[in-house]
Symmetry: C2
Subunit: 345 residues, 2 copies
């Protein structure tokens, strides 16, 4: 596989509030691709992007101009705003990365080409219906083990590839506070499919997905300014996406590739953002674990709209926030359809 | 943790038809433990065991003497006979290993202490209800990631630890034939819980479990002489064990530790043994995926007897073998109770 595969089929989406100097380190890997930069916060600020990158940049002003009365559904002052980039892209694949993530090294000391690995993950099938003890059976040097049903060895299409992080692990505020010095130094040379009907905590730091297959499910919710919670944007998108993937028979992989996560966010700030979510996730997760969707529906936008109504009826009792979130989910789909008129139904 | 933990609480069960020279390499790790050797095949053959090991050895003659009219339920001329050792042990933990498995090395070149790792796996909880993207959250240097419900962080007791194999992977005959030169060289530094309601292909080569929690589920079925299939003994035990663990809220882990699997079994012989199983597993696996047990039952023997009747009614149409297997499952439990009278009702 070439080191710049699918050049014309993948956009890189980066949410940021600052100059994008971090791209210098990524230049050999990202320069061939088109970047979609979502500038959060003050839209009048001029963000600098290193020379030579091909990019489009959207500020809050742009989002409001483009989405009009649906712009409120895109979070402000929170990296959840990245999902606007998923909506405006016209490519099949999206890779999204945080601007405090850098190039990691594998145990041999070589720079890890994250896109190459994500694309390998995406282009090989997933195996959600039965566990393979040697992990992703489509990787070189491995296969399905004895006892794996032959009827399942075709696998299913992969909709999402969730990459991990060396150095600063993706911990919640309480864990950050309890283990301020913990660093992830373990390189686990593994990609695997998250089994069907198993939810996972999807982190948005280093994430690739197939817009055509699952794009409309990747709404990052209502976070940041004016909202009662933060840091649940990617979790929310992950639960919704996994439930829809399970419904449609699509796969979500996790594991390689790693990025180098350079700095922990402030645990005190995080605690304030997460506080309500820590309680709410105890109800949200069982809600998603038990959520079933209309068997006949196969269109992701339609499934997502059905899910929005189930959020309203099933989580609305927790807090008025969930009613607003259900409205946001609907506005998101309206925006998606506006910008992607070819989307079915 | 000491390198000889739980010395008085763990037996090592080894099925074999030959002299146990392979124990020389294991001496530093296994010598502190008691071995239960199940000598398969000709009971008059004298098997040599290296000096200095503490062991008891059972031949077919012993099995028949001890189990009487239930002895037929223990396979003959097949390593499935190992489960007799699980029955006669009086220890809490069993480790079982094949006699063509040797000490593997980790990437630093150190000998892997399989028992130390298995015991770490067993003594730390499992997390079957939600996926942790940094794998076993109880390992040193890692934890639960952001978005993992706090109510689930206690985990559940671990009933089983499934270790893997470097060098010769555990492939079925068709895969052995197609990839005769494939070797597993990838050391994946990972332990993880197999999620609830996900079945996995459990291999008996390098396996540890808690007899008290789950022992009676570890019947290795009817294989070998007089039976229409072989090489499904551990798979069968794995499906039954996982379903009962899911029912009881117990965990099964897989991953580390690795053994060095020295030689591939003959793929032509294997194909003859597996032939029917390859077809049957296409029905057996969905059967186990959909199997539910009486919610009120918590005793493993009782659950296993219930499962035997479901095997009879649910798989009997495939082949008369499954009726015999259901009878074998019942005879196994009767034998278990005979030898373990303290086992609950």
């Amino acid at each position: 596989m070439s080191s710049v595969p699918l050049k014309d089929q993948l956009d890189i989406v980066i949410p940021t509030i600052r100059d994008l100097g971090f791209l210098e380190q990524w230049r050999p890997f990202f320069q061939p691709y088109h970047l979609i930069i979502i500038q959060d916060g003050d839209p009048t600020r001029k963000i600098s992007v290193p020379e030579g990158f091909d990019y489009e940049l959207y500020t809050r002003t742009d989002i409001e101009r483009i989405l009009g009365d649906k712009a409120w559904a895109i979070s402000f002052k929170d990296s959840a705003c990245r999902c606007f980039g998923f909506m405006v892209s016209k490519k099949r694949y999206i890779y999204t990365i945080d601007d405090d993530c850098f190039v990691a090294k594998n145990p041999s000391g070589d720079d890890i080409n994250v896109l190459e690995q994500h694309i390998k993950n995406m282009l090989s099938p997933s195996t959600p219906f039965f566990f393979n003890t040697l992990y992703d059976p489509y990787r070189e040097g491995t296969d399905f083990v004895r006892g794996y049903p032959f009827s399942l060895r075709d696998g299913v299409p992969t909709a999402l590839s969730h990459g991990l992080w060396l150095n600063i692990p993706d911990y919640d505020a309480p864990t950050q506070m309890v283990k301020p010095r913990e660093r992830n130094t373990r390189y686990v040379d593994c990609v695997m499919t998250v089994p069907k009907n198993t939810l996972f905590p999807m982190c948005g730091m280093n994430l690739c997905f197939d817009r055509d297959l699952i794009g409309p499910a990747l709404y990052f919710g209502l976070m940041g300014e004016g909202q009662p919670i933060g840091r649940y944007d990617d979790m929310w998108a992950g639960w919704c996406t996994k439930v829809i993937c399970d419904h449609l028979g699509l796969g979500c992989k996790t594991g390689l590739p790693y990025v180098w996560h350079s700095k922990a966010s402030n645990p005190f700030v995080n605690l304030r953002k997460e506080y309500k979510g820590i309680f709410w996730q105890e109800e949200m997760i069982p809600f998603f674990q038990n959520l079933t969707l209309n068997k006949e529906t196969t269109d992701v936008c339609e499934l997502y709209l059905e899910m929005a109504e189930k959020v309203r009826s099933g989580l609305g009792h927790i807090d008025p926030y969930f009613t607003k979130l259900a409205d946001g989910m609907i506005a998101w789909i309206h925006g998606w359809r506006q910008l992607n008129p070819a989307t079915k139904a």
